[in-house]
């Protein structure tokens, strides 16, 4: 029981107006792993984090974090978790040190201990030499590191990172990943990450849950997810032939022994998982030579998490509609990270 540091059972959140943000989500996270929630904006990632960090009450279901029931003992749960939101919630007018002092105050850490811990977390995120400067002089990456440091001041058992690299450039994102990986290695912290970046989930997470429209579609290691699609992927579209003719041709392709399965995705055409590598492309052409429908485009590639996402959700990752205030906040984050 205790080696599952997070356990969620049937978490459901229905917002006023009947919008189901999270629908019967269950999963467990092992101590010391980096666990990722991958999905587009509006998929229910942040809502799940908000429930686990006691910010909102689940409509149904229950969960424990570090063995503490988040519904029955929210106060104790807050002490056990660190939460770093996507908002970059550091105080620009204050110095890095003051931000951390404030955070230590929120966690009732007495002064002498607080000074020690501020030193410790500043060391962890390499901000010691900038601690006395105002945050408004920091770069986007430095702000994020400071925000992460704020989440570590009370030495939580679990750290929740909501979209940790939203709005950052690729170099800074890699740098943030380095720090997150470091946390896991050095202090064996359990880290729960949400992201809509495939590369982030791929390079950071030990296990990934793909979440879409409030439902977990699949949960596994990135490697296992990719191999579950077969070894390689062939995308193709038809250029000629009526629907019936295409259907007939498709059936022929499906029956080939190196084809594991074929899925139809609106904008991409057909996606086939294949087991015989690059030779599958000429083999497909050979097999359908006498069929009326002709292939218009075809491509061969190693599966990526993008394909995994497409395979399990049936659509590509794209932004869902967001309300005005959420949109405003997102633009705000973008603006604050780019300076």
């Amino acid at each position: 029981m205790m080696n599952h540091i997070i356990e969620a059972h049937g978490l459901t959140k229905v917002f006023p107006g009947g919008i189901v943000a999270v629908n019967d989500v269950s999963f467990s996270v092992e101590e010391g792993e980096i666990f990722g929630f991958l999905g587009p904006n509006g998929a229910g990632k942040s809502t799940t984090i908000a429930m686990l960090t006691t910010l909102i009450r689940p409509t149904k279901g229950h969960a424990t974090v570090a063995g503490i029931d988040i519904l029955k003992q929210p106060y104790q749960a807050r002490l056990a978790i660190g939460y770093v939101s996507q908002d970059l919630a550091v105080e620009d007018a204050l110095t890095g040190y003051e931000n951390l002092r404030l955070q230590a105050g929120f966690y009732h850490i007495v002064k002498i201990e607080a000074l020690k811990r501020i030193d410790e977390v500043l060391e962890m995120v390499d901000l010691k030499d900038r601690a006395k400067d105002k945050v408004e002089t920091y770069s986007g990456g430095m702000r994020k590191r400071l925000d992460i440091a704020c989440g570590l001041i009370h030495r939580p058992r679990v750290l929740f990172l909501d979209e940790p690299t939203l709005g950052l450039d690729i170099q800074t994102r890699r740098e943030i990943w380095k720090y997150v990986n470091h946390l896991r290695k050095e202090i064996r912290m359990t880290i729960f990450v949400t992201t809509h970046y495939m590369d982030e989930a791929d390079s950071l997470c030990d296990r990934i849950a793909i979440i879409d429209k409030g439902i977990i579609n699949i949960l596994d290691t990135p490697a296992a997810l990719k191999t579950s699609l077969g070894n390689e992927i062939v995308d193709f579209t038809f250029s000629k032939g009526t629907l019936e003719e295409q259907e007939e041709t498709l059936q022929k392709i499906t029956s080939l022994d190196f084809i594991r399965n074929i899925k139809f995705a609106q904008e991409k055409g057909y996606i086939a998982s294949v087991t015989n590598g690059e030779s599958s492309v000429p083999a497909i052409f050979e097999a359908i030579r006498d069929f009326p429908a002709k292939i218009g485009s075809i491509s061969f590639k190693q599966p990526s998490l993008d394909d995994v996402f497409l395979h399990y959700t049936g659509h590509e990752m794209r932004e869902e509609k967001v309300d005005k205030e959420t949109g405003f906040r997102t633009r705000m984050i973008m603006r604050r990270t780019r300076r």
Partner: protein, 262 residues
């Protein structure tokens, strides 16, 4: 949860607000400049009024500035407090509210810490106004204890307005609509009170409204202390009413805040 923990939480919310405030030089400068402009402009343009003996009698003092100083204090408290709710909406927008809520902070500490910082800011402003007005020749008959009383009442009024603003903010969720409502509230509250104009000189219908306006309680108590002395029989009622209003509005703002975050 023990009381010391709640005080700790209020202290840190308060600390943050004050720290942020002291970083904004323009705001601190305006703290001094704004009342100065009001006192000098209004004071000079209206000074002729007191040369008319009937007007002087209505104002209760031979110096219009003395009449107006409590009014300016309350007006500054009104403006300072009425936009107090925007800070919580900014916190929500910038994500700092969630940062506080995910920490083991007592929920009530968030509005209380903010209210205290607004109370302190309005008191500082009232003190600055008092000092400026002394230089401009205003005579407070009760001296320094009287000024402390004026500053205290202004602070309490600032907290009342800020509580109303916070309660609205908890329900509104958008900074723009809160600004619109706050702007809409200030002018009528101001103009239907005795802050700038004596009630005895108002038309009957307006004087009824002015007597009910909580702003008038604050101003009349302050004005009595500033111009007449410690007339407890005249001030206990308005002061008591203000305290009751403050308790009610602060409680409502805490309740509304609780509701909006749970």
């Amino acid at each position: 949860m023990s009381w010391t923990v709640i005080f700790n939480d209020i202290y840190w919310v308060f600390w943050r607000e004050i720290k942020k405030f002291t970083q904004q030089r323009a705001r601190i400068l305006m703290l001094v400049v704004q009342p100065l402009v009001w006192l000098v402009l209004m004071g000079n343009s209206m000074a002729g009024l007191t040369r008319n003996p009937i007007a002087a009698k209505m104002l209760g003092t031979g110096n219009y500035l003395t009449f107006m100083t409590p009014g300016i204090m309350i007006m500054t408290a009104l403006f300072g407090g009425v936009f107090g709710g925007t800070s919580i909406l900014w916190d929500r927008r910038l994500g700092f509210l969630n940062k506080m809520l995910s920490a083991p902070i007592h929920r009530a500490a968030i509005p209380l810490g903010k209210l205290m910082s607004i109370g302190l800011q309005t008191m500082m402003q009232a003190l600055i106004i008092a000092i400026i007005s002394l230089f401009l020749g205003v005579h407070v008959v009760t001296g320094i204890p009287g000024i402390i009383f004026l500053v205290f009442i202004a602070g309490m009024f600032g907290i009342i307005m800020a509580s109303i603003s916070l309660a609205l903010a908890a329900n509104l969720k958008s900074i723009e609509s809160l600004m619109a409502i706050s702007n809409f509230l200030t002018m009528p509250l101001m103009l239907t009170s005795n802050a700038m104009f004596p009630i005895s000189a108002m038309p009957a219908w307006l004087s009824v409204i002015a007597r009910l306006n909580p702003l008038s309680y604050a101003v009349s108590a302050m004005r009595t202390i500033a111009t007449q002395g410690w007339l407890f029989h005249a001030i206990w009622m308005p002061v008591l009413l203000l305290i009751i209003i403050a308790l009610i509005t602060v409680s409502i703002s805490i309740m509304m805040f609780y509701r909006s975050v749970s």
